[in-house]
Symmetry: C2
Subunit: 180 residues, 2 copies
Amino acid sequence: MLAVSLRYATLGLLAQQPGSGYDLLKRFEVSMANVWPATQSQLYGELNKLAADGLIEVTNVGPRGRKEYGITESGRVDLLAWITRPHDDTPVRRPEVLRVFLLGEIPASQARNYVTRMADSADHALARYEHIRDSVEWGDSDTAFFARAALEFGLRTAAMEADWARWLAEAIDRRNEPQR
Amino acid sequence: MLAVSLRYATLGLLAQQPGSGYDLLKRFEVSMANVWPATQSQLYGELNKLAADGLIEVTNVGPRGRKEYGITESGRVDLLAWITRPHDDTPVRRPEVLRVFLLGEIPASQARNYVTRMADSADHALARYEHIRDSVEWGDSDTAFFARAALEFGLRTAAMEADWARWLAEAIDRRNEPQR
DNA sequence: AGTGCCATGTAAACGGTTACATGATTCT
DNA sequence: AGAATCATGTAACCGTTTACATGGCACT
């Protein structure tokens, strides 16, 4: 058990506020999905496991078999331990950068093209994050404060990626300039 | 089959230069491992699959059962298609940032502490990349050029992460300043 | 003779994705 | 009545990680 992040993403959402699997799915989409995507299947499975381990519990049952979950005391203990424990996180996987390693294997014009598309998609991601920043009502809760901080990370990452891709595009151009 | 990056990382390494599984493992470590880690098990398995699909072939057999692989023509075609094909890459997973979303659930002093450790580990990563930049003999091959470009990505990412973590640490301090 | 490196492989378990499956309730 | 949404679950598959397993070759 060395990564298990979805488990704690789920537990954390319930620590912030109780809800059903369905509720959590929607809250996930507008917050953590950008740094830790989860599918519906996975979330429901995780909820059952967390409940079996006593870290969360069904606090009441509504229409359509809706089960509302809340975090338990031992759940809170476990969550706090996970957040503060020294972590060996799995290294980040970036397929786009992996391709950069291999760009020498294709014609320069196509390599240049690929890099330009990277810059475009970074710009697109940046615009998306900016839209979130400007459209969400950021209250003054701790939850909002840290969600905003995570968004700031996304903003800076996207800006950096766009800059880097443009830098690389120019470097490719300089490299392929007709020799004088 | 929507991600399959290790397959192409392997194929790409063989496109750059033939070698055995053992050779590739070592080349992996000093290059792509930072953006796409792979284990020994996985690599050997992938080599056998690639060979079965005719994208690579055993070019000769040495002592200790060493099998040297080379890329085939259809391997090159496939690799080029993968690099240039429009990609829906899997979203990046960042457990450290996931934790930031949950920092409101723990005492502010511990949250502040976590963020400081993030800054430290980003500094550490930056130093590691700088060391690579300064110690590797960068030739003027295409392979070296793009490896250097990927490293630049790492350098900028680490610097950005360190800046962001320090910004957040200060924001937490401001937020918790004794009210006047 | 012993250590360390070269070299490849298998098996079990886990986490994540996709597709399938079902049905109740609310709204128009 | 029908559509949209609420709501949960199962099964198969795939990629990844960890541990186990084996043995040859080179160097001292």
